[in-house]
Amino acid sequence: MGQPTPPDQILAVPLRHRGRWVAAAVLLGLLALLIRLIVNSRFADFAVVRQFLFNGSILEGLRNTLVISVLAQIVGITLGVICSVMRLAKNPVLSITSWLYIWFFRGTPVLVQLLFWFNAVPAVFKTFAVSVPFTHVVLYQKPMVQFMTPFMAALLGLGLNEGAYMAEIVRAAIISVDEGQTEAAQALGMRAGLIMRRVILPQAMRVIIPPTGNEFISMLKTSSLASVVLYGELLRRANDIYSTNLRVVELLLDASIWYLVLTSVATVGQYYLERRFARGASRELPLTPLQRLRRNLLPVRAGTAT
């Protein structure tokens, strides 16, 4: 009896996925045809598109879009959290008031709300004044037309509308946290406010982030509605330029390119933010596109794993 011969090296041939290659080739071919069609159709003068892409006025508009989107989203999130907590309160006055707020600001179009703040409010209320209640001490006073600037109208209109939607998102997230958490916290003797702040809301964050990220991306584009109240955001700036040089398609392309850039950055940001909040939830997080790309492109090192 001699030494047992080692088994033959198994010839492992990777499974051929010919169908995938064919499908990929067909799609790439169609994509190339589409791009060629667009470029050849000359529906826009791309020299003009390039001319205005980094125009000072357009970049200012881009900055203003970002500013109003971020601020309106912050206002929305703050109002949303307060409102949803009120909604879930035992006090019926609180819950009904917040329900009315959600009902009204979700039930009317954003455009109407913007026009309302900009045109109707100054027509009815002539002065904006902040004073100490029950006294005549006026802390701040301004004629309403001066207070209700395009920026203020945009902030109020977009922010309050967003607050109503955020309230529902936060409410969904709060009720998604297992009831057992509340019971355990109560058993430990924590008061309702403490439970909400330290137990419920931190766990609810994981469920709040994806729809909130979605809302922010949506807000980046909904901010274009602020152009009707003359707020100098991206669409209004593009509009102002093409109303002089009549290059409608080119300027709208410029605006669209910048909106795409903004939403793409926000989408990537949201992805990584979600991963951070999902750290405790799954044993091993799936690979990010970057990690997958690196793994697929670099050669597989054979025989090192045991």
Binding site: P122, A123, D240, S243, L246
Partner: protein, 311 residues
């Protein structure tokens, strides 16, 4: 030749071939009963009849028997919606209908934002534009105009003129709301530059989508003045809020013609409409329309092509 006897018996022409006689009869019949869909009665001698004008229209319009007109409806009394309806009314609408009657076609108004009209005209969204559009040298680079009315700019302020504005120079440091894409927008921008050059504060120009939005800003006090065409300013001063909202200040200035705008490649329609316009000026329909709306001061005696000289 006794045509009466010939008509009753074409054989009297001496032609033996009945076919020729039949053809002659048909031609004679066609010449006598002038088939046209227009409601105009006999036109004064020298002006073309509806049938000849119709024949001069582009073939596509002869087939569809309709001219589409782009117009920014919201500029009383030139074009506006009858209150609570989608029915267009106004000076432009009535002139449009009179032109349609003269040409033997239906005229339909398509509501289009003012600053989007040149692009839409080029895209053949409609056949021509009648929207109180001033004929200027700059605009003539894009479109051709048939001038049909003349109007200057008027300054509209709140009733009582609280900011004491009487001329363009008083606008330095003030806020003006107006419709974007109009000649008045250029005037306001120009005035702002002039103010700056003179060392005064610039004019804060708010460019709104429609003139009615600009009027709203004036009403609530966000702006101190609105620059629009004089007949429009006068109409708004008279009617808005029962006449208590606005007043016109100063004289009208920078008179320039309104033109019906045509795409540069549509010269046939342009010339035919010009002939029709000349016809309604000649037969008095034009003057009648203007006096109905109280804007006879803007009447033109001729219909020039690209007669505007301003910028």
């Amino acid at each position: 030749m006794d045509w009466g006897r010939v008509m009753s018996n074409p054989a009297r022409l001496g032609l033996r071939k009945p076919l020729v006689a039949l053809v002659l009869l048909a031609v004679a019949a066609g010449g006598v009963s002038c088939k046209s869909t227009s409601t105009a009665t006999s036109s004064p001698s020298g002006t073309p009849s509806s049938a000849t004008l119709f024949a001069k229209l582009p073939a596509a319009i002869q087939t569809s028997k309709e001219i589409q007109v782009g117009s920014d409806v919201g500029y009383a009394p030139i074009e506006f919606f009858k209150e609570g309806t989608q029915q267009v009314e106004g000076v432009d609408y009535d002139i449009g209908q009179a032109l349609g009657a003269k040409l033997g076609v239906k005229v339909t108004f398509v509501n289009t934002p003012f600053d989007g009209q040149p692009a839409a005209l080029k895209a053949k969204r409609f056949d021509m534009v009648m929207s109180a559009r001033t004929d200027t040298k700059t605009r003539q680079a894009e479109v051709d105009f048939v001038d049909y009315f003349t109007a200057g700019t008027g300054i509209l302020v709140q009733k009582g003129n609280p900011k004491n504005i009487n001329s363009l120079d008083d606008l330095c440091g003030k806020t003006v709301a107006l419709e974007k894409g109009t000649t008045q927008a250029d005037v306001a921008d120009g005035q702002s530059t002039k103010c700056q050059a003179a060392g005064k504060a610039t004019v804060n120009v708010l460019k709104l989508d429609k003139d009615t939005d600009a009027l709203q800003q004036l009403k609530i006090g966000r702006s101190d003045a609105d620059l629009n065409d004089f007949p429009v300013a006068a109409y708004n001063a008279k009617t808005s809020g029962g006449g208590n909202d606005f007043q016109v200040t100063g004289q009208q200035f920078m008179s320039a013609p309104y033109g019906i705008a045509f795409s540069k490649d549509n010269a046939q329609l342009r010339d035919t409409v010009q002939s029709a316009l000349k016809a309604i000026i000649a037969d008095g329909t034009y003057d009648q329309i203007l006096s109905t709306w109280g804007v006879s001061a803007g009447a033109l005696k001729t219909a020039d092509i690209n007669g505007g000289t301003g910028t």
